[in-house]
């Protein structure tokens, strides 16, 4: 994504999501089959939430690399690694996920979380993760399928129009989650498993934040997907639900794992 900031989020957003995603994060680690001394990679490391956790799993005899296209995230990740006292074996580099500065077969396992949805070339990123992984090593990708996002409302037609627009137009690869199974198979990875994990949010304000409704709605208006009047109706219906305690939204995250043959 160096050429585009579509879908870019700040560190505060990433912190809130990381709290919610903690359980899934741990499951990606366990699918990586990490042992002390392993070399592992996190593609799209952001401010280092996962690299620091991985740092304690591999221990000081191991090595963790995080890459991110955003130098500000890399600087923050390095600061956090220093604070956590793991900077000796946890490193972060500013790099393109489709052309990473590592030798082929360098890592025991690789992971990537909520990165592919922002990429124009997710296949290229998976190919690159596969290249830098050792034969027999695990590759684990966790990503959202924004196409499955749904909000309970009587304004169903409006909801379908908005959700389709968000998934299709506000992310480079908004249907990422549902595509992982195919991509893993195309890369001839072995022992592929794909799990779909539903996420329910009954807090309207949190959902607005998590699903970035403010910016998505502004974009939908600008592109004339909805009128101001429709958007007003949409907001009213959701605010009513919030007041009645009946707000309900859901989306799905897919977790794919496979080994380099």
């Amino acid at each position: 994504m160096p050429t585009s900031a579509k879908g870019y989020f700040d560190t505060e957003y990433l912190r809130v999501v990381a709290e919610i995603a903690e359980e899934y994060k741990r499951r990606t680690y366990s699918l990586m089959k990490i042992e002390k001394g392993h070399k592992v990679l996190d593609a799209g490391c952001g401010p280092g939430t996962d690299t620091i956790a991985l740092g304690s799993l591999v221990g000081p005899s191991g090595e963790v690399y995080g890459v991110d296209f955003d130098p500000a995230m890399i600087a923050e990740a390095n600061r956090r690694a220093a604070t956590a006292g793991v900077a000796h074996w946890v490193h972060h580099q500013d790099a393109d996920a489709t052309a990473m500065p590592f030798e082929s077969g360098y890592f025991d396992s690789c992971r990537s979380e909520r990165l592919f949805q922002h990429l124009l070339n997710p296949r290229g990123a998976l190919a690159e993760m596969t290249r830098v992984t050792k034969k027999g090593g695990w590759i684990v990708v966790l990503d959202t399928d924004w196409g499955s996002c749904g909000i309970d409302t009587d304004e169903v037609e409006l909801e379908r129009r908005l959700m389709t627009f968000y998934a299709t137009e506000t992310y480079h690869n908004g249907y990422s989650g549902r595509r992982l199974s195919r991509f893993f198979k195309e890369h001839d990875l072995a022992d592929i498993s794909v799990e779909v994990i539903p996420y329910v949010c009954t807090n309207y304000q949190l959902a607005r934040y998590l699903f970035a409704f403010d910016s998505h709605e502004a974009q939908a208006l600008a592109e004339k997907i909805v009128t101001e009047e429709e958007l007003r109706r949409w907001h009213e219906s959701l605010q009513r639900d919030e007041e009645n305690g009946t707000f309900f939204s859901c989306t799905n995250i897919a977790m794919a794992a496979g080994r380099k043959p």
Binding site: G150, Y175, R178, R179, S181, P198, V200, T246, C250
Partner: protein
Amino acid sequence: MMATSTKGYVDTEYLRIVAELLEKPKRQTYLPMQIEKGDKVLDVGCGPGTDTLALAELVGPTGEVYGVDFDGAMVAEAELRAEKARVNGWVHHKEADATAMPFASGSFDACRSERVFQHSLNPRAILAEMVRVTKKDGWVVVLDSDWGSLGVDTDEVEIERRLMSFSATETHHNGVSGRCLYRFFKEQGLTDISVELLPIVITSYPLMSLIYTFGEKERQALAAKIVTTDEIQRWRASLERAEANGTFFAYFCMALVAGCKS
């Protein structure tokens, strides 16, 4: 509940295949019903008796199971199966409208309904009726699909979105049923409400076609001019390619919602 309309009607062979696929979610509905031996329980939209027979085991011969369905043929088949399974002493099936069931208020210890609301023009009324016939402190459990969550992996994303939105909103009376349940349960004043989403992943194109009757939905979308013949051909070709490559991937979520009548 569908007496005036057959939108979304399906036959017993279809129900058998779906029952296999949905066996796990089905079993998960029995747990929140908190069934004990001797309980009196109800299955709304019982079809050919798949669940009433399973519930019979859970309540035992000292209990009682009722299944209701709007379709007389389903009720007859369910009765036949109950007889074969020798549980007809305490398992009964009745032809009835789910919004006006022939039971006194507070008759049942627990009620369930599975994949019924999606076919209903008035799902709130079914839930209200289930609540009425349930005893105080009894459990009401509903499992239903959210066809709005159905996604099929394809490069023909735009066609896929159009077809899926159309089929969820236009080919079922209440195709996004799953996501509405939480609101409906709250509106009924049920307490201790729990919601669980259960993803159903399908990696076979023929199976997906069968369980979601793609052919029928494509015909309706064509007739409604949602898609062109050429687009349908491109869509099918993409899924056939995925099937041939072993990469077909689709899923949808079912919602399992339980609440207590307080």
